[in-house]
């Protein structure tokens, strides 16, 4: 592999790793919700309305 190929491959793999980490972080922030479907959104929002 040429040096330029190594750099491109490394960049692709590192951005993929970042993609996985960011997705997991987003899920953690949302308390496990994917945040894309209405069931999840509703369930997530209800976390803020727990009886005190």
């Amino acid at each position: 592999m040429s040096a330029i190929e190594v750099v491109i491959l490394s960049a692709i793999v590192l951005s993929a790793v970042a993609g996985v980490v960011l997705s997991l972080k987003r899920e953690k922030k949302n308390g496990g919700c994917c945040g894309s479907c209405s069931q999840c959104k509703s369930a997530c929002k209800s976390k803020d309305n727990q009886p005190k």
Binding site: M1, E5, V6, L9, I12, V13, S15, A16, V17, A18, G19, V20, S23, L24, E27, K28, N30, G31, G32, C33, C34, S36, C37, S38, Q39, C40, S42, A43, C44, K45, S46, K47, D48, N49, Q50, P51
Partner: protein, 722 residues
């Protein structure tokens, strides 16, 4: 902007009206408790924009449940300009109980009389003028489902919101506590309590929050209470107030509701005699579920080949069904999946053709990695959507609410109530909202038990795993039975786990389960399509984000050695992932499947399932190389394949669900206990399946040991009880 809120009993049609007014696509279900949180939208067809707030369904404004707290806090603290009280006209008397409480607030109000079409069909009549006179607020007849009269409702609501409304309580008409109420209200006015009418009734009831908020008048209220003869109600003032409300409603009902004298049993009542039968209710549910699995996954539709020997041999039909000559007619789900798989294959081939001049590693990354992995999970999309279409129809018709009811009796024996069925039912779609929905369970122990067994209910993300195996096992002829059996085994393991957890941990009595059964109705096309769109969006978002990223990483690790700059390796076993996988492989040996030709690949695939369960199949496809995951599965024996499926069904769920469980359990110690529990169950069940079905005598020994362990647990439980 004006702010109107929708308040009413559960399953009275609030969310349907909310969607119709705001053009939203909020989840609507034909069972009570779909909305556990308030949500907002905007109505734009009036002179000024109106913010519409959909509150969760409630029976009262007493702060006992999460839904009641959310609704009460909104109405009392956030000063809405108007309340649209949705009243289910088919259950008028019960729905008006909440109306009497809403009238005690000084917020302007309109009653939206929903489901009037059903009342008219039954031959009943409701006198709207009499209803307006009895409750002192305008009434508009609507059909939220059909969007009938909703613009008229908003026009009336807009006019009403401009005028202040004086609160009043029907309790003042009570001969028993009317006088006491008047005295407490006077007391509240003297102490400058805002909305004295509402607070006076609540203080008189002994509402916990009100007593805490108004300690200065509590002594006087006690004296007033002592003057009332409450012996008939055992000193329960809440019951006395409830009785006063119902007395008022009952006294007005003859002039409001004119019942059809020749009323016959409704279609719902007739159907319930059949579907909710105490003997065949549960078997009927199992048969319905099998029928759904058969239509979705069967290679031999209606067993036409198995029973009648019907085969397809003509070229036209073979192309139409995408099958080989001499095959059976496939079920609609399999037929759609074949076409989808064919089109995806054409797309991948076209892209591969375009990349011929690219470097080998880039073609490999895009075609063998990214596209193959995503194809492996997307090709099952028609199956998944079809299964959820049927489940959504069952939910929309009102049948699933019945299943919760018939399951209550069975669940109770295992320490759970029918109320736990809803969260568990949601887990068939996705475990995350399922786990979050457990917060509606009042008993803490029941909630914990439900969370612990929830991953055993196979979610949509695990479906590609079952489908990949179903297409290969037993020659791919019994896909419906394979998938159905996995779902059933998951439920059985959950039940056994619940029994064990009940005997070991949960000694508390199960909370009683009271629910209002909705009427059956035909599924709504829009609502069903919205459910499917939700599922599709969820799937595509995951495939395009976490799964696609993980596939790239897996492909890189499985095609390069630790000195990756030297280029791609020829043998996958010497790749980075190969070396890591082979080191871990031994831990999974007892379960059988890790011992085969593709042992470490299967281990790595299972581990990537922690990111997202769809990832298991995508990783298998990438690690199978050019041979495809079907070849990988074909090298496994049936016990090893089932053992692998069960391990993936029962082991630690995806990170998203673990996050949800962590949030709900709110304790790291409890979370680690839960993870340990899932791993133990998965390991034991998976290993037992492999060894018992590979060597019959092991099966006999394990069966005897299980019976002995169960008897020992029962004896221990009985001794504790004594």
């Amino acid at each position: 902007m004006l702010k109107f809120c929708l308040a009413g009993n559960p399953n009275s049609g609030k969310t349907t009206l909310f969607n119709a007014l705001t053009g939203s696509t909020a989840h609507v279900g034909n069972w009570p408790g779909v909305t556990v949180d308030k949500r907002e939208g905007v109505y734009k067809k009036l002179e000024e924009k109106v913010s519409i707030v959909d509150l969760p369904g409630i029976y009262s404004l007493s702060p006992y449940t999460l839904e009641e707290v959310v609704s009460r806090n909104f109405i009392m603290d956030e000063n809405p300009d108007l309340i649209i009280n949705i009243v289910d006209a088919t259950k008028l008397e019960r729905n008006l109980y909440l109306t009497t409480q809403l009238l005690e607030t000084n917020v302007p109000m309109v009653i939206a009389l929903n489901m009037m079409d059903t009342v008219e069909r039954a031959g009943d009549k409701i006198d709207v003028k009499a209803l307006e006179k009895a409750f002192g607020v305008p009434v508009v007849e609507i059909s939220a489902l059909r969007g009938k009269n909703i613009n008229e409702l908003m026009k009336v609501a807009y006019e009403v919101s401009k005028q202040p409304r004086k609160s009043f309580s029907v309790v003042e008409h009570s001969p028993l506590i009317g006088k006491a109420y008047a005295e407490v209200e006077k007391l509240c006015c003297e102490h400058d309590v805002d909305c004295a009418c509402f607070h006076a009734v609540k203080v008189l009831e002994g509402d916990m929050l009100e007593v805490k908020d108004h300690p200065h008048i509590e002594e006087h209220v006690k004296e007033i209470r002592e003057q009332i003869d409450s012996s008939a109600f055992d000193g329960d003032f809440e019951a006395m107030v409830a009785d006063a409300r119902y007395q008022y409603i009952t006294s007005k009902m003859p002039s409001i509701l004119i019942k059809n004298a020749k009323q016959k049993a409704t279609a719902t009542q007739k159907a319930d005699k059949f579907f909710m039968h105490k003997v065949w209710g549960i078997p009927m549910f199992l048969v319905i579920m099998f029928a759904i699995f058969h239509v979705t996954f069967a290679e031999d539709f209606l067993y036409l080949q198995g029973i009648f020997g019907l085969e397809i041999n003509s070229d036209f039909w073979c192309t139409f069904f995408q099958i080989e000559a001499g095959s059976a007619i496939p079920s609609p789900g399999v037929w759609l999946q074949s076409w989808f798989g064919y089109l995806m294959g054409c797309l991948i081939e076209a892209i591969a053709g375009l990349m011929e001049s690219c470097p080998a590693w880039l073609t490999g990354l895009v075609c063998d990695g990214l596209l193959s992995g995503i194809d492996a999970i997307l090709s099952f999309l028609p199956h998944i959507l079809m299964l959820f279409l049927f489940l959504s129809i069952l939910e929309d018709t009102g049948y699933m609410a019945r299943v919760a009811f018939i399951m209550d009796r069975a669940f109770r024996k295992f320490g759970l109530s029918g109320k736990a069925f809803y969260p568990l039912l949601m887990c068939f779609g996705c475990g995350v909202p399922g786990v979050m929905a457990t917060k509606t369970l009042e008993s803490e122990k029941e909630r914990k038990m439900t969370i612990l067994i929830s991953p055993f209910f196979s979610c949509g993300a695990k479906l590609p795993i079952w489908l990949a195996f179903a297409g290969v096992l037993f020659g791919g002829q019994h896909g419906d039975l394979v998938v159905y059996s996995i779902y059933l085994i998951g439920i059985i393991v959950a039940i056994i786990s619940a029994i064990v957890l009940k005997l070991v941990i949960n000694k508390a009595e199960t909370a009683p389960f009271i629910m209002e059964l909705p009427d059956y109705h035909l599924p709504q096309f829009k609502s069903t399509m919205l459910h499917l769109w939700d599922k599709l969006k969820h799937y595509l978002v995951k495939a395009g984000t976490i799964i696609a990223s993980a596939i790239v990483v897996i492909w890189f690790l499985s095609n390069f050695g630790f000195a990756f700059w030297n280029g791609m390796v020829d043998d996958i076993n010497v790749s980075m992932l190969g070396q890591i996988g082979q080191a871990l492989q031994y831990l999974f040996y007892p379960m059988g499947w890790a011992m085969g030709d593709y042992g470490w690949q299967l281990v790595v695939s299972s581990l990537t399932g922690l990111l997202a369960k769809e990832e298991v199949v995508a990783t298998m496809e990438v690690l199978a190389g050019g041979l495809g995951l079907e070849f990988m599965i074909a090298t496994m024996t049936a016990p090893a394949a089932f053992s692998f499926m069960l391990f993936n069904l029962l082991c630690v769920p995806c990170m998203a669900m673990v996050g949800a469980v962590a949030g709900e359990l709110n304790s790291k110690k409890e979370l680690f206990k839960a993870i340990g529990f899932w791993m133990l169950v998965a390991y034991v069940v998976s290993a037992a399946t492999y060894w018992c079905f590979t060597y019959w005598y092991v099966g006999v020994i394990v069966a005897v040991a299980l019976v002995a362990a169960f008897v020992a647990l029962v004896i221990r439980y009985k001794k504790r009880k004594v």
